[in-house]
């Protein structure tokens, strides 16, 4: 089903390509909006396009920066206690890099570093506050946690490239930071980036769920009072109902 859709997209793309044959890189996505509802369990984002001439493709999806509270467990005697707590800022909540070949094979290290195409460049820019004693341990743990929850993904075979056409399937996890995501597609040829395309994907909360979440955050007192009254009312109504039935 997915491939059928993909084929169709590529066909329409082919026509568009002919029209502007001079561009070395054309990119499109299956959607530019992701709606997070209360039933949202993740979504696939399809990135596809065409390149002219030889080369390799790198696709990067980056969410806005998120703030994380990180905590270390430490052992005191036989008991595991909560140790240091550090707030991590200035790192994206979601970062996925898919490519048609291992990036270190197609680009030199300094270019990768400069363009921020590696996990290590992300964690280098992240800010740990207060700065912990063994920063490198925390940085490594930060990346490990991100990768474990599939928030950070590196897939050197994630882009399928065939006869000038490419496609990539990005799996978005269920818990997404909201905001404008940046989708960058690089065309790499002979150790150099020859073309970049930039797109934006909007991830937003919609429906009743979004309204509740926002209301509970922004009017927390009103929310608390209303919810408490609703809970009391629900308990009361159900109680009366049960009593009537048993009487």
């Amino acid at each position: 089903m997915l491939y059928l859709r993909l084929m169709l997209m590529l066909l329409t793309m082919g026509a568009a390509m002919l029209a502007e044959a001079s561009t070395p890189l054309v990119v499109a996505t299956s959607t530019d909006k992701v709606n997070v509802t209360s039933h949202f369990v993740g979504e696939n984002l399809l990135v596809y396009g065409a390149i002219t001439g030889p080369g390799q493709v790198i696709v990067i999806l980056r969410s806005p920066d998120s703030t994380e509270a990180m905590q270390q467990k430490t052992r005191t005697g036989p008991i595991w206690l909560n140790g240091a707590k550090v707030t991590v800022t200035k790192a994206p909540g979601i970062w996925q890099r898919l490519s048609s070949a291992p990036v270190r094979h197609i680009l030199p290290d300094d270019t990768l570093q400069k363009l921020g195409l590696t996990l290590s460049s992300l964690v280098d820019k992240a800010h740990f506050d207060p700065e912990p004693d063994h920063l490198d341990t925390w940085q490594k743990a930060f990346l490990d946690e991100r990768i474990r929850h599939r928030n950070y993904v590196v897939d050197p075979a994630g882009v399928t490239l065939k006869q000038g056409l490419f496609s990539a399937k990005i799996r978005l996890p269920a818990s997404l930071p909201l905001g404008h995501y940046q989708l960058l597609t690089y065309l790499v040829r002979q150790q150099q980036v020859v073309a970049v395309r930039k797109q934006q994907i909007d991830v937003r909360q919609v429906g009743f769920q979004a309204w509740i979440a926002r209301f509970a955050r922004e009017n927390s007192w009103v929310y608390g009072i209303v919810l408490t009254i609703i809970l009391a009312g629900l308990g009361f109504a159900l109680g009366i109902l049960m009593r009537r039935r048993s009487a």
Partner: protein, 304 residues
Amino acid sequence: MELFLPIAHMDVNIWLIVSFGLAVGFLSGLTGVGGGILITPLLIFIGVPPLVAVGTGAAQIVGGSAIGSYAHWRMGNVDMRMAFVLLAGSWTGGLIGVHIARILEAGGHFGLVVTFLYVILLGVIGTSMLIESLLALRGRHGHASQKNRTKNQSILQRLPGQMDFPVSGLRLSFLTPVLLGFGVGLLTALMGVGGGFVMVPIMLYVLKMPTKVVVGTSLFQLLFTTAEVGILQAGMNHAVDPYLALALVLGSIFGTQFGARAGAHMKGEQLRLVLALVVVGVAIKMGLGLFIAPEHIFSMARVV
């Protein structure tokens, strides 16, 4: 039905939560012992952040106790004067408790403190219930604390601020119920429990209130204490999840009814033994978590 919880920030099958309410409500309907002490640990076990588990645990008791309080009030089983004196204490305790919870959470220690409190509380309650029901099953009844009681009574009568409570037929210092309320308010804020297990024995054996009034008055004050703490936890700490609370109320109301009906056909001692075993089991599971090396040394939570 998978649902994303907006406050707890996690995916959960909402029917699992309803079934928690059903199971705990069933146990409390069966035995007459409030089930609030089991809800919060269950929520923590499935990964709800401890502060949200505690805040939501308190809020859902509002739904569970509304109809009972109303029924007792209608039957005249509530000592209103006593209830308001108790509330003066428990609202203060609740307010201070929610502040303490906020400070502990900011330092990253709330989860650990809650675990400790639950291991102690569930351990003590579970063990005493276990001993009591085993003794009862063997046909013995202990009345050991008779002497202490008369001694306590004379101290209580010498406290300043003596006050008449005509419905209960008592004269005692208002300080005693205020302090009792204060302790229960703290427990509600820090553990998400109603505190009936503390309130009822003290009313019966220390304050010597008539049994008829004890249940009604404790339920009545518990309703308003949990309501206050629920509002404070939502307003101050963003710690009450609406879907969790609604699902728990739904489950526990039905569970309590089924439990009460089933309980009519079963023996009390054996039922209490079952509940005691469940409580001790939960205490052990929580306690073990302190000693078992965590799978991941580092944990991370998104701050909104």
